[in-house]
Symmetry: C2
Subunit: 139 residues, 2 copies
DNA sequence: GCAATAGACGTAATAGTATAACATTAACAA
DNA sequence: TTGTTAATGTTATACTATTACGTCTATTGC
């Protein structure tokens, strides 16, 4: 399924992929596939599959990340994301903001755990839930 | 069958909670809420909410974990799980097995990231996808 | 040029996951 | 008993995702 080879990916985005990506990039936070669909009806989107197909490609090439714990998607905010094996997300339960980060030590720890265990690691999902700095300050 | 001991869990499980937990404990792998429902129809289960309500409580007290990337649930295999802030799961994409583990260093890394960032961490989701040792050997 | 092919797209239908809303029953204290 | 709370039962619905199939278009090979 998902090959993380977007360094070699030169093919341009299709129209639908571009529309979905632009919608995500304009939004400061995660969007569900169906809310993307609703926001793209004016551009001719009619069915979920148009969104899901675009998302699949965008996630493949690393321009979009899927947040498993939210069933939602965010545009990648990381300049040239391809070197980070282990991307993590901090999701604020108050304001919904999502902060993407990448810690080398965490990636190393998971890699060494996999090596010790004999697990062939393909992909990691790391999602933190809590309150962002701003929302902590307000509380 | 061993009794689980949770520090903050004094109330005994209700009938539905016990049935759902037993079903998960008998199964070597994750189950979706709806497959639990199907398997408990003989015990009188009729509607998804009976399963979801039981699962919510079981997850709360730590007897069951939710796998976000699978929309599925597993019984906790960890003796006295309450001390592990950062539980992680390695999911085999070939055979579906799930290995639960807990690495102190990862928890420390995430905690220190949160401290530096001002993020008030409530819960972490760490899910690894790949091939387990056995499936790598077979390939 | 012109099939043949492959990929993106459109559309309808359906499968799978989760919760809202409300009625009923059980447990139990005043 | 009666009032209260928690758990349960039930129906309906919302939300998320995929299957199946048909069309269109761009490219490839002849």
């Amino acid at each position: 399924m998902a090959e993380h080879q977007h360094t070699h990916d030169t093919k341009p985005l299709t129209k639908n992929q571009r529309l979905v990506l632009e919608r995500l990039e304009k939004t400061d936070g995660p969007l569900s596939a169906y809310s993307i669909l609703d926001e793209l009806r004016d551009q001719g989107f009619r069915a979920p599959l148009q969104v899901y197909r675009a998302l699949e490609k965008l996630v493949d090439v690393g321009l979009v990340h899927r947040l498993e714990s939210l069933n939602a998607f965010v545009a990648c905010r990381h300049p040239s994301c391809q070197n980070h094996q282990s991307i993590a997300f901090a999701i604020c339960e108050q304001c919904g903001s999502v902060k993407e980060f990448s810690e080398a030590r965490i990636a190393e720890d998971l890699t060494s755990w996999a090596a010790e265990t004999g697990f062939m690691l393909k992909k990691t999902t790391i999602e933190l839930r809590g309150l962002c700095k701003d929302c902590v300050a307000k509380a």
